[in-house]
Symmetry: C2
Subunit: 208 residues, 2 copies
């Protein structure tokens, strides 16, 4: 099917193709996911990246800098795509909410290792890195909360606690990374459908 350039652009938030990680970051992702931050050494990461230890230090000054760059890249991609998903909905608050949930679900299927490392290695982030990461997570949750409040204001949703509902929906989407497998019984579209429906129920959307 040939798609116009305009459609390709507005629908782009659904696509998570290349992860845009530099080769050292991609190598570090695998090592962190398998061994954890504290169990990973610069030597292990360098070996996985096919670099010498000084070669790796040429790119990143420390293991902490690698963790920071890795998590920031993933979170920035999530935020950019979620913002595009919200914009793509135009003025309809229900579609906006559904797009945001769909985008989060798709991100956590496409970027399972990044999501796992970001959530498990909060403990390993130095204060500044952690504060930056928490800011990105808060921004994410606020996008969900804003979408919920817009739907409440328009009378489409019945939700007494938008902040708690936003956290619950974010948690649900994040947890997809823990159990989803591309070769499992549910297709990515199945997962999206079910989670959009779960999220609609959580915010008291009228049944379709």
């Amino acid at each position: 099917m040939e798609m116009s350039e305009e459609i390709a652009t507005t629908a782009g938030w659904r696509e998570f193709g290349d992860d845009a990680l530099s080769p050292p970051l991609r190598a570090a992702l695998g090592v962190f996911a398998r061994h954890g931050y504290h169990g990973a050494s610069i030597r292990m990461i360098a070996e996985a990246a096919g670099l010498s230890v000084p070669g790796l230090y040429h790119h990143y000054r420390s293991k902490q800098a690698i963790l920071a760059a890795l998590v920031d890249t993933a979170m920035a991609e999530m935020l950019a795509n979620t913002a595009a998903a919200a914009d793509d909905a135009g003025d309809d608050p229900v579609t906006r909410f559904e797009n945001v949930v769909e985008c989060l679900a798709r991100f956590h299927m496409a970027r399972r290792d990044q999501a796992f490392v970001a959530s498990t290695e909060m403990r390993s982030m130095e204060p500044e890195v952690r504060a930056h990461h928490v800011g990105q997570r808060d921004a994410q949750q606020e996008m969900i909360e804003d979408a919920i409040r817009a739907g409440v204001d328009s009378g489409d949703f019945a939700c007494e606690f938008p902040e708690d509902a936003a956290r619950a929906i974010a948690s649900l989407c994040v947890s997809i990374a823990n159990w989803y497998r591309p070769d499992g019984p549910l297709s990515a579209d199945d997962v999206v459908c079910r989670h959009v429906e779960f999220a609609r129920r959580l915010v008291g959307a009228a049944a379709r």
Copy 2:
């Protein structure tokens, strides 16, 4: 307030007091939670427990045996309390479902470190330990799913995908361990109320 013995017994599933961990396991829990399994050494655990390394080996033959015992103790407690919560509901499927959700929410507030270590260190479990742990998690999810199906059969719930809804509810409760703080803005009872309501909405329970 004086409570009869009968009330104290049937309501016992709501109480998560002493964690029933041996001192070496409690020490290991702290070390694993801070450093991760691969970043933790037997020496660190022995020091935290106030034991010599040979003294620790007297209790547990390996770091893997410590992880296995730690996670098994937590999961066994969760399963026992959830079963008690379900039994406590008698024949009413809605109360049974709500009790199971409440118990899971309370467990994940009372046992935050255990929940974190169990979910992040699946990767570090040797095959047998992992299989045992997965079996316990499946048993947990089945208790939720059974409660949902009973409510669907009785006409109290409208839920097309009980298995997916059970997984979503388990994920929601597990995630409480990541953000709940005893000194945070929500009391434990607030968290329970909101999550029981979220879970009711997920399974399509009639509004109260």
